[in-house]
């Protein structure tokens, strides 16, 4: 009676994609649901800001320390700023923020929707002819998609600041040297690309969380399972998509450089 696991994977993926498209297609309801979207933006964005900043600060600090030690061997400690900025803007900023969000928001989003599902609240909405995708899923997906990139901006800035502090205090790099090289770390296109990545990760995590929530069955155990699956799948997808996107970006950049 049990379905082959691959079939389950395909069915889950299909459901998630359809759910995401349906939620995005319901953007016309966004104005009607603005209160819900704002509420979710508060939970996803404002409440996650401290933890995201704390994470990024320490990551920036450790990163500066590690690269600084290596650069010092070649007497190039000044280059720390360049490395930190390029890594933060293109890689660490978007996906470390995505990690923090999945852990803090994705898991609880799946658990919340999963609880609604097993306590028949989703059914109740459906019976009242209130589309649960519009009422529950859409506000979460939109809020996540907006706040993911916003948090990435903050996280990246804080991460760079953390790097600068360590470079200044522990590595003895003058702040103006740090900034001088930092400017060369990223061009505007890199910044937009980083934000686009963050948007992709956010949509992906929100869709996975909502989809796992909506497919929950089997009481409290099922809710726990939905939450766990969300974290595992969303994190896996994030690193995987990140690799694909980075490869793609390099390819495009090379092509553009070749043309010019």
């Amino acid at each position: 009676m049990k379905d082959f696991w691959l079939i389950k994977v395909f069915r889950g993926t299909g459901y998630t994609l359809v759910l995401l498209l349906e939620a995005l297609g319901l953007f016309t309801h966004a104005w009607k649901r603005r209160a819900a979207i704002m509420g979710q933006m508060h939970i996803i964005g404002a409440q996650s800001l401290p933890i995201a900043c704390f994470f990024m600060l320490l990551i920036g600090m450790v990163f500066a320390l590690q690269t600084g030690i290596e650069f010092a061997r070649f007497g190039q400690t000044n280059l720390v700023g360049l490395v930190i900025v390029s890594a933060m803007v293109r890689e660490l900023g978007p996906w470390m923020t995505a990690f923090v969000l999945v852990a803090r928001v994705g898991s609880s989003m799946a658990a919340e929707i999963g609880t609604m599902k097993v306590s028949e609240e989703i059914d109740a909405l459906e019976v009242m002819s209130v589309n649960p995708v519009s009422y529950v899923v859409m506000p979460r997906v939109f809020a996540y998609a907006i706040m993911g990139p916003v948090l990435t901006v903050f996280g990246t800035l804080v991460g760079i600041a953390g790097g600068a502090i360590v470079a200044n205090i522990q590595l003895g790099v003058k702040l103006e040297d740090f900034l001088r090289f930092a400017e060369r770390g990223a061009e505007p296109l890199d910044i937009y690309w980083g934000l686009l990545k963050s948007l992709v990760f956010s949509l992906c995590a929100a869709a996975v969380a909502c989809s796992n929530g909506m497919r929950t069955s089997g009481g409290a155990v099922g809710v726990g399972q939905a939450s766990r699956n969300t974290v595992v799948i969303a994190l896996t997808l994030t690193v995987f998509l990140n690799y694909l996107l980075t490869s793609f970006y390099r390819m495009v950049k090379r092509l553009v450089a070749g043309l010019m």
Partner: protein
């Protein structure tokens, strides 16, 4: 606004036509026949009570009624409209006829009671804020919760959740209200309050109501008719009096809490193992069918669980009291097997 709506609708429709009709509905879930040829119909303005053992598919049949589940076979008609083939859009229109009280109330956790009752009005009407507040007040006062309107579902008791769920269910003055175990988990006084509410809605609003319960006292208080759900179909349908004096042993067994009457052997075996009687496992059913074809070699017999004539009230003392015997094949579990052999 909603009031004139219902009266117009009433004038148009034939009062004798059934509001809800199930015809030969079958549904298999995780390998088990949960609904197995379910036949019944509910008349306008009556309170139809469905009784039956827990975990046998009463909630599943309610979910079919509002199109949350589709049957594998058979036909379901609401006001004469076939709903099994309806599109999502058509179902949304259909569901406006229904109010549903779910087993746990199913209130939205982040809305307070006022907002919960207001939700269907916000979504489906263009009422002004003040008009909405009036309707919400009327419904919450009906269930005696107006003073608790600012509380959130997590702050109130189970009985209050159910009453609030009822207020929300009737916010749009539906024609048909479905209740899934409205009195389970409540103390007798509150449970009786809910029964009185159900009767009030029938008498003053003329609502058609379908109530799933296993509280017999409540069933006798509210029912126009009672249907006993057993092995995926209606074993007997009758007035409260007909059910009380039923000659069907399974019905007697249920309504007396197992003190009188009897159930089929396999149900009995299930009870011995602390499981719900009255649910047919697909594998066991197939085993029995197979055994009917094969030559009977074993000397063990079980009571055949399906009656030849379902849905209609069994005549007193008819087939039900003289059970048909069938040779038993390999039963699903050895545990059940042992129980049978212990029988004299």
């Amino acid at each position: 606004m909603a009031g004139t709506d219902t009266s117009q609708r009433k004038a148009r429709v034939d009062p004798n036509k059934p509001v809800v009709e199930f015809i030969g509905v079958r549904k298999k879930l995780s390998g088990r026949m949960i609904l197995d040829g379910l036949d019944f119909s509910v008349r306008r303005g009556e309170t139809f009570v469905i009784i039956g053992y827990s975990g046998t598919g009463k909630s599943v049949s309610l979910r079919h009624m509002v199109g949350l589940m589709k049957p594998d076979e058979g036909s379901i008609r609401i006001d004469g409209d076939e709903i099994t083939t309806m599109t999502q859009r058509e179902l949304e229109v259909l569901r406006r006829k229904f109010g549903v009280l779910f087993q746990s109330g199913a209130l939205i956790g982040w809305l307070n009671l006022f907002q919960n009752v207001e939700l269907p009005l916000l979504e489906h009407t263009k009422m002004s804020k003040r008009k909405r507040a009036e309707v919400v007040q009327e419904k919450l006062e009906l269930v005696n919760l107006w003073q608790d309107r600012d509380k959130f579902p997590s702050e109130i008791s189970g009985g209050m959740k159910k009453r609030a769920g009822l207020a929300r269910a009737i916010a749009l003055d539906p024609q048909i209200v479905l209740y899934d175990e409205p009195s389970s988990g409540l103390d007798p006084v509150i449970a009786h309050e809910i029964d009185k509410l159900i009767n009030r809605l029938r008498d003053s609003h003329g609502m058609t109501q379908i109530v799933v319960t296993h509280d017999m006292e409540s069933a006798y208080t509210i029912a126009s008719r009672i249907g006993m759900f057993y092995h995926g179909k209606m074993l007997q349908i009758g007035t409260p009096n007909e059910i009380r004096t039923s000659a069907v042993p399974e019905v007697q067994h249920f309504i007396t809490g197992g003190r009188e009457g009897a159930v089929s052997t396999r149900s009995d075996a299930a009870i011995q193992h602390g499981r719900a009687p009255g649910m047919l496992s697909q594998r066991t059913a197939e085993a029995i069918d197979a055994a009917a074809d094969a030559a009977p070699t074993e000397q063990v017999y079980v009571l055949l669980e399906e009656r030849p004539d379902d849905g209609t009230p069994a005549p007193a003392g008819a087939p039900s009291t003289t059970p048909e015997l069938k040779p038993e094949a390999e039963l699903e579990s050895t545990q059940e097997h042992q129980t049978h052999e212990e029988k004299p």
